[in-house]
Symmetry: C2
Subunit: 218 residues, 2 copies
DNA sequence: TACAATTTTTAGGTTAGTCTAAATTAAATT
DNA sequence: AATTTAATTTAGACTAACCTAAAAATTGTA
C-alpha cells in the first residue's frame, strides 16, 4: 500500500506528464504539490526505490507501468466521486474538487466498482475529463485548447484543464459550460485574447490565459 | 483541524466512555486503538493541551464538551456512510465497517449534510446504532444486552456492540438480524449461554459472549 | 500495612515527510 | 569557451506518531 502522500506525488506526475510530455521535472512537481524542491527529490528517490517511477538525477521522473496504474486508479476514484457529488448530492461543478481530493484516497476496489455502477458507468466527470476504467485505460479523445484555434474554427466545450472554483465560476457566469458551441471570431495579436461566439448567440472576449484552459472537440 | 490520528483517539475515548462510565484508562485506549500504552500517554497529553480531553496522570481521560462534539461528528459521519454503503451501494451490513473507518475522516460539513438528506435523514445505521445529529446529539434510546435478560423476557434486536465481519456473519446465518423478535427461553447457570426463540419460530442457543453483543429494545 | 502485581509514565530512539541553507550540476548567455 | 543563472541535490534539522525498556505510581493481596 502507498501512503496518502506517495499517491499525491504519483498523481501529480501523472497529470504533468499527460500535459507536458513524458519526463517531469522536480520543480514542476514542487509547484503543483506545493512543497519545496528538496522534499520532491526525497520522494522521487523513494518512489524510484518502489519502482513506481524511473528517476534520473538532475533530469526528472517518469511513471513506470505500475506507477501509471496506481496513478490512474486515483484519478479514476477522484472523477467518479466528482460525478457522485454533482449527480447525486447536487453540488455544482466548481464545488467538488476539494472534496474529491480527499475521497480519492479511500481504499476499496469493491467500493469504487459499486459506485461506478451506481452512477451508471459514467465516462466523463463533471468537468468533461474522461474517467479511466478499472484497468487504468483512458478513453483518449483528443481535445484542443481554445487558445490553439484560429478565427472561423468551431468546437464544443468538452473539458477544462483548470479546476479551481474561481475559474469554474467565471466560466459558468459567462455561459461557457460543458457542451456549449464556440465559434472563434478574432484573436488579438497583441496579448492573445480571443473573441468568440457562444451558441451563435452571445459574443464574449476572454484572455489567452482563460482560452488555454478551455478544451474543445472540433 | 485535527489529524486523522487525533480523531481516532477521540473516537475511541467516546466509545469507551459511553460503555464503561466516564473516565477512560490509558490501557483501554491502547487496546482499542492497537498501540502501546506509551503512545497513548503521548497523545493524551497532546489532546489535553488542545482542550479536547481533560487528563489526570495515572487516572485517565474524559472528553471535554468540545472533544465530545468532535467525536460525535466523526461517529455521525461513520454511521451515515454505512447507511450509504448498504442502502445505495448494496453492501451487506458486515462489509461496511472498514470502509466507513476511512470515510469518516473526510472533512466537509456540506458533504455530510447533503449525504444525510440524500439518504432520507436516517436515524440509525445498518447495525442499529443511532446517528448523532449535526449538533452531536444522540437520540439515546436505551438498549439492553441480551445477556441481561431473564427467561420469559421478550425484545426485538435493535443493535449490536461488536462490528466485526465474523460476528455479523454469524448473526446473519443464525437469523439474528435487526428487527428480529427474541423470547428468552433459558439461561445456563454454568456458562451463561442463552437459549432463545427467534420470531416465535426457531430456537437457538448462543454463548454469553454473543449474548453480550446483541442489543434489544424491550 | 507491606509487598507484589499491574498500570502508567518517562526516557530515548525510529520513520515519514517536511523544511532551510549550502553545494552541485545543467542550461543559458555573452 | 567562460561565466552567470537557474535547477536540483545534499546536509542537517524539525515534527508527528510510533516504539522498547526502565522507572514511578497505583492497586490488590497477604
Amino acid at each position: 500500500m502507498n501512503s496518502f502522500t506517495e499517491e499525491n506525488y504519483l498523481k501529480a506526475i501523472f497529470h504533468l506528464s499527460a500535459e507536458d510530455g513524458i519526463v517531469v521535472s522536480t520543480n514542476k512537481i514542487s509547484e503543483t504539490i506545493n512543497t519545496t524542491a528538496a522534499s520532491v527529490t526525497d520522494m522521487l528517490k523513494k518512489l524510484a526505490e518502489k519502482k513506481l517511477i524511473s528517476y534520473i538525477k538532475y533530469q526528472g521522473a517518469t511513471l513506470t507501468q505500475s506507477g501509471r496504474q496506481v496513478a490512474a486508479a486515483i484519478v479514476r476514484k477522484h472523477r467518479l466521486w466528482e460525478v457522485f457529488l454533482v449527480d447525486k448530492l447536487g453540488f455544482k461543478w466548481d464545488e467538488v474538487h476539494e472534496i474529491a481530493e480527499e475521497l480519492e484516497h479511500i481504499n476499496s476496489e469493491e467500493l469504487i466498482n459499486r459506485l461506478d455502477h451506481f452512477l451508471g458507468l459514467p465516462s466523463n466527470d463533471p468537468h468533461g475529463d474522461p474517467i479511466p476504467d478499472s484497468q487504468g485505460n483512458i478513453n483518449q479523445k483528443k481535445l484542443l485548447k481554445v487558445s490553439k484555434l484560429i478565427p472561423g474554427q468551431q468546437g464544443s466545450i468538452s473539458g477544462v484543464s483548470e479546476h479551481s472554483s474561481v475559474f469554474l465560476q467565471f466560466l459558468e457566469k459567462s455561459g461557457l459550460t460543458l457542451g456549449a458551441n464556440l465559434t472563434i471570431k478574432d484573436v488579438m495579436p497583441f496579448d492573445g485574447s480571443v473573441t468568440l461566439l457562444i451558441n451563435d448567440l452571445k459574443e464574449i472576449t476572454i484572455s489567452r490565459e482563460v482560452a488555454k484552459n478551455i478544451l474543445v472537440m472540433i
